[in-house]
């Protein structure tokens, strides 16, 4: 069974009907995994025996007629989602051997449904970044071009066909840009759709648990399992039910797609062309195109960074070397703190905590934080208003092609790459990243953004052109 060419639905059916056992499926996946991981640096840890044991248990349940909706399906999980069986590194060298007493709600749900976690995927320094370049274990290599970054390791795991889907966090756009860079599909769900309990996040306001997969159909099946209320994440109180199957691709004459003209001005011409083509293709298929105005993208991005850094300074204050992680040797309390925290937080995480502290300090609060919170509200209003004129809107996911591994860049360059993702995070609305085209043999993804809980429509529309993964070209 070629995982990339099989839908989750088909694979589960094959397992349930005994054409292949979960054990065989996972065994094959693990083999694949160790071969492909070698050069790409996708995984921080790989499950091995534990995964095989789980697969065995699923086969036993299967024999007893347990209809597990994800029976034996291999999944990769980003290493900021806690999982009790493998170490949870959080993107810190000090946590390489950390066994979390918590398993993330989303991982729990997948496991209950029969999915098997095959490994924990690489991430930036404390999950802060959209490139994996700040990862303590080095960046994940793009499966399309080995001299470039993958953006996100989960996307690389899916693009290479190691696993059928990946669970990834997304705050400012890590998951979406990864999907764009690796030519796969990534859904950042509506606020409150999927429980974030067990996700170690630097930014609680904007962090979401997303699904990366090869097709919209696969995402829909998984989203159904992940959706819904979880007492441990209060934000999920707004979501009491899942979605069931993707609807038919929406009737073109009933759907208006918003095209924020000014957004594309930020792009290099060859990238802009991809989106203009996509727009024209939508139009050819009969969708109405409405030019809309998103005038606060850049300011939204800046507001995002003020809020994200402030929250990081507070969220990461728990890393004090007392209850978990490593402790810095000293007989003086103050020094113990300073050493522990400098060891646990990498360079980027240190920068963000320190800048966040600066921004929130007395005297700066009004100028930066209060203003950022107001701009946040304005961005939300802007997106809401956009959906008066359209049903969905299209935006780039990444501002540039995936970064070269040896490229010199400043931290602000990297922040700026979240230009199209961070404002969507502020809006709280769902965003689906789908392949839109290619530039220089590299995939370019497009965000389709819809009003809250419009995932069904997004996934239906998104399934129009997927399956352009790097290895599908062979």
């Amino acid at each position: 069974m070629e995982l990339r060419k099989t839908s989750i639905h088909q694979a589960v059916e094959a397992v349930q009907q005994g054409e292949i056992t979960a054990f065989e499926l996972i065994e094959k996946t693990l083999k694949n995994c160790s071969v492909l991981d070698e050069g790409l640096n996708i995984f921080n840890s790989i499950a091995g025996i534990d995964a095989l044991e789980q697969a065995k248990a699923i086969d036993q349940k299967n024999e007893k007629g347990g209809n597990l909706p994800l029976a034996g399906i291999p999944v990769a999980v980003k290493d900021d989602l806690c999982y009790g069986v493998l170490p949870t590194s959080l993107g810190s060298a000090a946590f390489n051997e950390f066994m979390s007493p918590v398993t993330a709600a989303a991982v729990e749900r997948l496991m209950d449904a029969g999915a098997v976690v095959i490994g924990k995927t690489n991430l930036d320094d404390m999950g802060q970044g959209s490139t994996t370049l700040s990862s303590p274990g080095g960046p994940t290599v793009n499966p399309w071009q080995a001299e470039r970054t993958a953006g996100s390791a989960g996307a690389a795991a899916v693009a290479t066909g190691i696993c059928m889907f990946a669970l990834e966090s997304d705050s400012g756009g890590a998951q979406r840009q990864g999907a764009s860079h690796c030519g796969v599909v990534g859904l950042r769900p509506t606020t409150g759709r999927v429980s974030r309990y067990g996700l170690n996040t630097h930014c609680s306001s904007f962090a979401r648990v997303g699904i990366t997969a090869f097709s919209c159909e696969n995402i829909a099946g998984v989203l159904d399992i992940l959706s819904g209320f979880d007492e441990r994440d209060a934000a999920t109180a707004v979501c009491r039910e899942g979605i069931t199957e993707i609807s038919k691709i929406p009737n073109s004459d009933k759907l208006t797609i918003g095209y924020p003209v000014n957004a594309f001005d930020f792009l290099e011409p060859e990238l802009r062309e991809v989106f203009e083509k996509a727009r024209d293709e939508f139009a050819e298929r009969g969708y109405k195109i409405a030019e809309i105005d998103l005038g606060l993208l850049r300011e939204g991005l800046q507001a995002y960074y003020v809020i994200a850094l402030i929250e990081a300074s507070s969220n990461h204050a728990r890393f004090d070397g007392i209850r978990f992680g490593k402790t810095g040797e000293s007989e003086i309390l103050e020094e113990m703190y300073q050493h522990s925290r400098a060891e646990i937080l990498g360079k980027e995480a240190r920068r963000r905590s320190i800048f966040g502290t600066y921004l929130l300090s007395k005297g700066n609060y009004d100028q930066y934080y209060r203003q950022a919170l107001k701009v946040w509200k304005m961005v939300r209003q802007e997106f809401k208003k956009a959906f008066d004129q359209c049903d969905l809107l299209m935006l780039p996911a990444a501002k540039k092609l995936p970064r070269l591994l040896n490229e010199e860049y400043s931290f602000l360059d990297e922040y700026f790459e979240d230009l199209f993702c961070a404002p969507v995070s502020l809006s709280g609305m769902p965003a689906l990243t789908v392949p839109a085209g290619q530039v220089n043999q590299l995939p370019v993804g497009m965000q389709l953004v819809g009003p809250p809980f419009s995932e069904k429509t997004l996934l239906a529309l998104g399934s129009w052109d997927t399956g352009t993964g790097p290895l599908s070209q062979e």
């Binding site: 900021d80 989602l81 806690c82 949870t88 959080l90 979390s100 007493p101 918590v102 993330a104 974030r196 309990y197 067990g198 996700l199 170690n200 996040t201 609680s204 306001s205 007492e231 441990r232 994440d233 209060a234 934000a235 109180a237 402030i310 929250e311 300074s313 507070s314 990461h316 204050a317 728990r318 890393f319 004090d320 007392i322 209850r323 978990f324 007989e331 309390l333 703190y337 502290t357 929130l360 300090s361 007395k362 609060y365 934080y369």
Partner: protein
């Protein structure tokens, strides 16, 4: 919400006796005078004392504020901990419904306006007892604000003390610094059992004008929280904690003077003493033309003095901001009103009812209702023996004295309301005298035996049998001819002596009235 429901709050008896009922029409106990000499008072009198209290009260709930760990005292360290209250990566707080209800009750009991929209903030600072590096608290919008309670001022006049705010927050853990031996001499030890326990902070306006007022405010607050069922308020165990801000100014001044903050006052007495100490210190400084500086001081109970913890050069910057992991609290005016209607009866109200329904003197009502526990005990007795004044005398008198000696609360005594009723019924039926009854109570209280059993085992039943008594009376008359003569000679006191002799012979069990009658009959007849 019923009166009898929930844990019975406990109040040390010593405090209860000194409580002053806040209602004009009642008899008042003496207003306690602080332990400052006359000369010292003269110095202080020059200045107006301004005190504000910040009181932390632990809420009675089964769980902690943001996780399901039990909220109860255990001696084993770090037993009541979980990934949430230890701040493990990936965990998020989940607000307790019961804690919110308790905080709402407290706000309403203190006559606060309740915020229909509020949320939690993070107060960011590092300390090993603070697992997340921040404390979740309500900084920007407290649940309750602009409330008040009433106390007696030093002249015995009723005075309103403003309650600026009532807000919810989580408690921190506990640090233990061992000096010798133990686990590690070069380490401090952290116990997170208390981390995340639900608290409310009650901040008074700077309306208090003496240490006595401060103490009465605190007592009143404690009683109200106990009556509302919000907290057991055990100051010695830390479920009621008090910090004070103190400053002095000239009476004609409008601006407040420089204030100091007093911490670590672990008993009501410590509050009063440390305030007196600090007021005196500030007055002396000002008298010498020196300045009071902004400081945080710690009360040392052993040395009876304050110790400087730190001098604040600039105000702390806690970088407060809304906790993005919690959701806001929205209440409707109707919900608040319902909660107000369902508030349990408060001490003052109950005392008024005792006066009205049971015809008790105001003083009795005040003492009995000083602790919800004692008042509950009194009413339970009354259900079984409906003579309010008699029950009141025994509950306030002998029973309370025994409690006090044993350091117990009314509901902890093995001498139950049933036992009390049985005892009072025996007196009522003249089966035992009042004097014997005291002895029975003492023995029953100590041994846990039923009063009737004590009476039977000790043979304490009153002798009302005329023939049995006549023999003794005859003997006493024949053995005391002089006294009998004196009585005959008109010295009526002599009869008392004879009665006493009979009582002595019967070990107090003789019915005194009958003995009297018999003596008079025998001598005169």
């Amino acid at each position: 919400m019923n009166l009898g429901q929930g844990t019975c709050p406990r109040v040390p008896r010593v405090l209860a006796m000194k409580r002053v009922v806040g209602h004009e029409s009642w008899d008042k106990g003496p207003v306690p005078v602080s332990q400052v000499s006359k000369d010292e008072r003269k110095v202080i009198m020059k200045y107006e004392v301004v005190i504000g209290l910040e009181v932390h009260v632990e809420l009675l709930t089964k769980c902690k504020l943001f996780c399901s760990c039990p909220n109860r005292f255990v001696s084993e360290p770090n037993l009541n901990t979980c990934p949430v209250c230890l701040g493990f990566p990936g965990t998020m707080p989940q607000l307790s419904r019961e804690a919110l209800n308790q905080a709402l009750k407290a706000s309403l009991a203190l006559n606060c306006e309740v915020a229909l929209y509020s949320y939690f903030d993070r107060k960011n600072y590092f300390y090993p007892d603070m697992p997340k590096g921040y404390q979740i608290s309500q900084y920007y919008i407290p649940l309750g604000s602009r409330g008040h309670l009433e106390i007696d001022d030093d002249q015995g006049k009723l005075k309103k003390i403003g309650v600026g705010r009532v807000h919810m927050e989580e408690d921190a853990g506990k640090l233990i610094h061992e000096t010798t031996g133990g686990i590690a001499i070069d380490s401090s030890m952290v116990d997170y059992n208390r981390a995340g326990v639900p608290l409310i902070e009650i901040v008074s306006e700077p309306d208090l004008r003496s240490s006595g007022e401060a103490k009465r405010y605190l007592e009143k607050l404690k009683s109200m929280m106990q009556y509302a069922g919000v907290s057991d308020c055990k100051m010695e165990e830390g479920s009621l904690r008090c910090d004070a801000n103190v400053s002095l100014r000239m009476p004609e001044d409008e601006a407040y003077g420089v204030k100091t903050e007093l911490k670590n006052m672990n008993s009501f007495r410590a509050v009063e003493r440390s305030l007196d100490h600090e007021i005196k210190r500030q007055a002396e400084l000002l008298d010498q033309g020196e300045k009071v500086i902004t400081q945080t001081l710690r009360w040392d109970e052993d040395k009876q003095q304050t110790i400087v913890m730190r001098s604040k050069l600039e105000a702390d910057d806690y970088r407060c901001f809304a906790d993005p992991e919690l959701v806001p609290i929205e209440l409707t005016a109707q919900e608040v009103e319902n909660a107000r209607q369902n508030l349990p009866e408060m001490a003052d109200e109950r005392a008024r009812r005792f006066v009205k329904d049971y015809g008790l003197p105001g003083y009795d009502a005040g003492v009995l209702t000083s602790s919800r526990c004692l008042a509950d005990y009194f009413e339970s007795c009354l259900q079984l023996f409906n003579k309010p004044k008699e029950v009141s005398n025994w509950v306030m008198g002998e029973f309370s004295a025994r409690l006090n000696n044993a350091g117990l609360e009314a509901d902890q005594a093995s001498f139950t309301p049933e036992d009390m009723a049985e005892l009072l019924k025996m007196i009522d039926k003249q089966e035992i005298s009042g004097k014997i009854a005291k002895e029975v109570l003492e023995k029953a209280f100590q041994s846990g035996k039923k009063p009737r059993r004590v009476v039977e085992e000790e043979g304490l039943l009153q002798i009302s049998d005329q023939s049995e008594l006549e023999a003794i009376v005859d003997r006493v008359i024949s053995e005391n001819p002089d006294t009998v003569e004196n009585y005959r000679g008109g010295k009526s006191k002599a009869l008392g002596h004879l009665v006493g002799q009979v009582m002595k012979e019967t070990r107090g069990k003789a019915n005194p009235q009958l003995v009297n009658e018999l003596l008079v009959k025998k001598i005169d007849g």
